[in-house]
């Protein structure tokens, strides 16, 4: 009896999970980036391939449990032809091939994001992560970022990046903000650096996620295709305030973006 019950439960759970995934019951938010469709397509292909194997495996398990799970041990058990060693080799080969295929096929999506150089006319924004907030810096009218001096960082006077506006002319027109705004349909290049430790920049709708590594400046680039206000969340555990570490990104039309930048410059 237990064997049959187990089989029925396995079938029900498997079908429920399959339904949730196929019907996108709890799914990713709508994609708003140019490279997003590549990534989404790859996720669907992977889930399709793995899903078929998953459902098949569970149904086979349920079938065997239903048919032979309650036998009293009088049947002679059949085993894999050749015994244990060929079985293990077979499993390694089959799973290995599956992983390699996924890697090769998936590398196209990866390459379209990480091995494609950024557009030279990208809007450049500097991003700094520190416990427990993100701050952003725009180069200003001169298009150049001033050098950073970590020893001059003074959060009480709003000098989050450690700029020396008295001695570095490039720093004078840098615009430092607590919110990120980008123009829609324009390539954007972010340079990520960390003030203290590992954090991560993640915007789900943009299909962008990149860890901050202290000591390295990491570039990421993307183009947003829809306007709106989205969350940037830290997805690398960084301490007691990690749960609260976020900032907001606004994708604005070009005129709105220009206005916003003017307002921020006036507040420096």
């Amino acid at each position: 009896m237990p064997g049959k019950v187990f089989a029925v439960v396995v079938v029900i759970v498997t079908l429920a999970i399959a339904y949730c995934v196929i019907a996108h019951v709890w799914w990713m938010p709508v994609d708003i980036s140019v490279h997003g469709p590549n990534i989404d397509r790859q996720i669907e292909e992977t889930l399709f391939g793995a899903g078929i194997l998953f459902i098949a495996g569970q149904l086979v398990l349920a079938a065997f449990s239903f048919l032979y799970g309650d036998s009293k041990g009088t049947r002679k058990m059949k085993s894999f032809p050749g015994g244990a060693k060929p079985l293990i080799i077979f499993a390694c080969v089959v799973v290995g091939i599956e992983i390699l295929v996924l890697s090769f096929v998936g590398s196209k999506a990866w390459g379209s994001v990480y091995f494609t150089p950024p557009d030279p006319s990208s809007v450049r924004i500097d991003v700094q992560a520190g416990q427990f907030a993100f701050y952003f810096r725009y180069p200003g009218p001169d298009g150049k970022f001033g050098p950073l001096h970590p020893e001059l960082i003074s959060e009480g006077t709003q000098n989050f990046f450690g700029l020396d506006t008295d001695h570095d002319p490039d720093s004078k027109d840098d615009i430092v903000t607590a919110q990120l705004a980008i123009p829609v349909n324009k390539p954007v290049l972010l340079t990520l650096h960390s003030k203290d430790m590992g954090h991560s920049f993640d915007v789900r709708e943009l299909r962008v996620q990149q860890d901050f590594v202290p000591g390295i400046v990491i570039p990421i680039h993307f183009t947003a295709t829809q306007t709106g206000r989205f969350e940037i969340v830290c997805t690398q555990l960084c301490g007691l305030g990690h749960y609260n570490m976020k900032a907001y990104i606004q994708v604005l039309s070009q005129p709105d973006y220009d206005n916003w930048l003017k307002q921020q410059a006036a507040m420096q």
Binding site: G130, A133, E155, Q158, N244, K246, Y248
Partner: protein
């Protein structure tokens, strides 16, 4: 970790220990005198007990000269011990006693701190990363408070304290000071506190705060406070001008705790400050401002009439 004892929140044992210290003069005399009193009565002397275990039944012969001599020498010995313990207790009590200035002989210093020039532009604070903080300031935007000026060029948040001239015998002020976290800002922005004076730290926000005084002479510490949690109660063991305070969760929050010995005053928006309970004498007063640093002035305080002292800081 003894050095942490006085600058982390007090516990019940902490309060009990302080009470014990202050009353030690009284306690020691009692503790020393009691056995002395008990043993000075001849009936309870060990000699007599060992001599005759049934001494309570046998009548005592007070006229026996042998017994009288023994009693007299013992009495003299116990008298000496009793006197010595009382004197010791008195001396100990005096050593640990602290004086507080009586109202009649207290002097006062009042004055104004002014800023000569234009205060530097205070930048707006963007609290969008924490919506509960941003919601508290929907209507009124918030700026930094590095230089706060008021009517007639008065400079606020300047701490005026006595840097020289105190005898070191003053008891810490008993009234606790308060540091509040409200709207994701510290109120007041600059708070002065006496060494050993209690400080209460409250969280009035719906957000988690983690207050982090970056002390160098005192032990540095940080402590989280959940919304609706109990206030912290801390004391400071050493003078330190200043102790910068930051919140580990909200980077824009900043305050200064100025730990001094003796009377102090913090200037308000109009620049006026007041130091009370200063014994008459010659002192050096120091005024500290977070951007402009310190200035000193010598002053003579007399009983009854307040002494006027003014400071002027030059804007860069």
């Amino acid at each position: 970790m003894d050095h942490l004892r006085d600058s982390v929140p007090s516990t019940i044992s902490d309060l009990f220990r302080k009470k014990l210290q202050m009353g030690f003069g009284c306690w020691s005399s009692l503790l020393l005198a009691l056995p002395t009193a008990l043993t000075s009565f001849p009936r309870f002397s060990a000699d007599r007990l060992t001599h005759d275990l049934s001494w309570s039944i046998r009548p005592l012969k007070f006229h026996d000269s042998r017994i009288l001599n023994e009693e007299n020498s013992m009495k003299a010995g116990y008298k000496f011990v009793a006197l010595a313990s009382v004197l010791l207790a008195l001396a100990f009590g005096l050593l640990h006693s602290r004086s507080s200035v009586s109202a009649a002989s207290a002097g006062q210093v009042t004055g104004t701190v002014k800023l000569d020039g234009i205060a530097p532009h205070q930048r707006g604070i963007d609290m969008s990363k924490d919506p509960s903080c941003a919601a508290a300031h929907k209507d009124k935007p918030v700026t930094t408070e590095n230089v706060v000026t008021g009517a007639n060029g008065g400079l606020a948040n300047v701490v005026v304290y006595v840097s020289q001239g105190l005898t070191g015998n003053e008891a810490p002020l008993s009234q606790p000071v308060q540091l509040e976290q409200k709207g994701c800002q510290y109120f007041p922005h600059v708070v002065a506190v006496d060494v050993g004076q209690h400080m209460k730290i409250l969280n009035d926000d719906q957000a988690l705060h983690n207050i982090h005084p970056q002390a160098t002479k005192n032990a540095a510490w940080n402590k989280s406070q959940m919304p609706g949690g109990p206030p912290l109660d801390v004391t400071w063991a050493s003078e330190e001008v200043p102790v910068p305070v930051k919140c580990n969760v909200h980077p824009w929050m900043q305050a200064y705790i100025v730990v001094v010995k003796g009377p102090y005053g913090v200037s308000d928006d109009s620049g006026s400050f007041q130091l009370d309970n200063l014994p008459p004498g010659n002192y050096t007063l120091t005024a500290w401002q977070e951007t402009y640093g310190t200035q000193t002035q010598n002053v003579t305080v007399a009983a009854g009439k307040p002494t006027a002292v003014n400071f002027t800081f030059k804007a860069k």
